[in-house]
């Protein structure tokens, strides 16, 4: 098991903290600073997405302007969205497989899984673009009704996060190809993975909240 090095009572002594995982330089907190930073960021992102999900529920079925125009029931293609949701879920699997690969020192598989994750992310974003286009053709725009406003804002921001994740993954892949991503950089993959999984769990909530829960 990996161990953290933490200061001990001796002036020039560090001790290995039992039960600590991962490799990082000694820190005051005893935990990795980059990992702490990403967890803090994700914590703030929970508040960010929470705002948009709450807004959606605030107006859903409670405001007379919510369903002025095409209704969610008429627009949603559940089989299609289920497939894109499944693809995003599988991208989380490929992401952890990429992490497992670099932790084993298998850089060839790392690159394969990173590319697979980015590809699945692209498929998801492509599906979202297709869905948005279809909805627009059927008469739902950002300003058509409150459903359009809340739906496009929430899912669009999520899509933007997925896109940022794809750029991040491709950057890591490119660093690996150039030989600039070594075994000791596994934490870089883990941090990108944490972001990617967060985007996935946000979609788990959005998929249930917007698509699956029966509309009034």
């Amino acid at each position: 098991m990996a161990q953290a090095v933490v200061p001990s009572e001796g002036h020039h002594k560090y001790e290995i903290e039992p039960g600590f995982h991962g490799h990082h330089a000694p820190t005051n907190t005893g935990v990795s600073n980059p990992k702490l930073a990403i967890w803090l960021f994700l914590s703030s992102e929970a508040l960010f997405f929470g705002a948009f999900i709450a807004t959606y529920f605030l107006y859903r079925g409670r405001d007379s302007y919510f369903n002025e125009g095409p209704t969610p029931k008429e627009l949603f293609n559940i089989p299609f969205t289920s497939v894109t949701s499944f693809v995003l879920l599988m991208s989380s699997l490929t992401m952890v497989l990429a992490l497992a690969a670099i932790q084993r020192g298998d850089h060839r598989r790392l690159r394969i899984w990173l590319l697979a994750t980015a590809f699945f992310g692209l498929v998801f974003v492509g599906g979202q673009v297709f869905e948005f286009t279809e909805f627009y053709r059927e008469g739902l725009a950002l300003n058509t009704n409150l459903f359009g406003t809340t739906f496009f804002t929430l899912t669009g921001l999520h899509g933007a996060h997925v896109t940022a994740g794809i750029v991040w993954l491709v950057t890591l892949w490119s660093r690996s190809v150039q030989g600039r991503l070594h075994d000791q950089h596994s934490e870089a993959i883990e941090i990108a993975g944490l972001y990617w999984h967060f985007v996935d769990i946000v979609w788990i909530i959005i998929f249930t909240a917007i698509y699956l829960i029966p509309q009034h």
Binding site: H21, A46, V96, I204
Partner: protein, 135 residues
């Protein structure tokens, strides 16, 4: 605290582990290779197993969607939320390693989730009451 490690002063004046980036213990054994390899995390087989469970849960969710009208709506909504939260929990615990990583990270994230739930819960109750009163 199980083992102690010698440190040296870096050019920047910081205390860093002794050796060429390696953490040499007082016994002289290097711990770097083990540090790079995180054995605490699950292996590919466990990850695939979790993915299979997630797929089954997603299929159940979609199946439930088509039961609308046949099942009480409140029960349906409750079941959909339960499934979503189980998926959420599985991804957090296994893929985000909350189960294995230091509890400090978990606490940081849970504080954000709880804060968001509380703040937006209050917002929803407050504004929902206002909207209903205006109708």
């Amino acid at each position: 605290m199980t083992d102690s490690t010698d440190v040296v002063e870096s050019p920047g004046g910081e205390l860093v582990p002794a050796g060429d980036g390696a953490l040499a213990t007082t016994s002289g054994a290097e711990v770097v290779p083990a540090a790079f390899r995180d054995d605490s995390h699950p292996g590919p087989v466990q990850y695939v197993f979790i993915a299979v469970v997630l797929c089954i849960l997603t299929a159940l969710e979609v199946g439930l969607y088509y039961l609308e009208g046949d099942v009480n709506n409140n029960l349906l909504i409750a079941m959909l939320w339960v499934l979503a939260f189980v998926k959420f929990f599985l991804v957090c615990s296994w893929y985000m390693h909350m189960k294995m990583d230091p509890p400090f990270f978990r606490r940081v994230f849970v504080v954000g989730i709880c804060l968001a739930s509380f703040v937006y819960g209050v917002v929803l109750f407050t504004f929902a009451a206002t909207i209903l009163a205006d109708r």
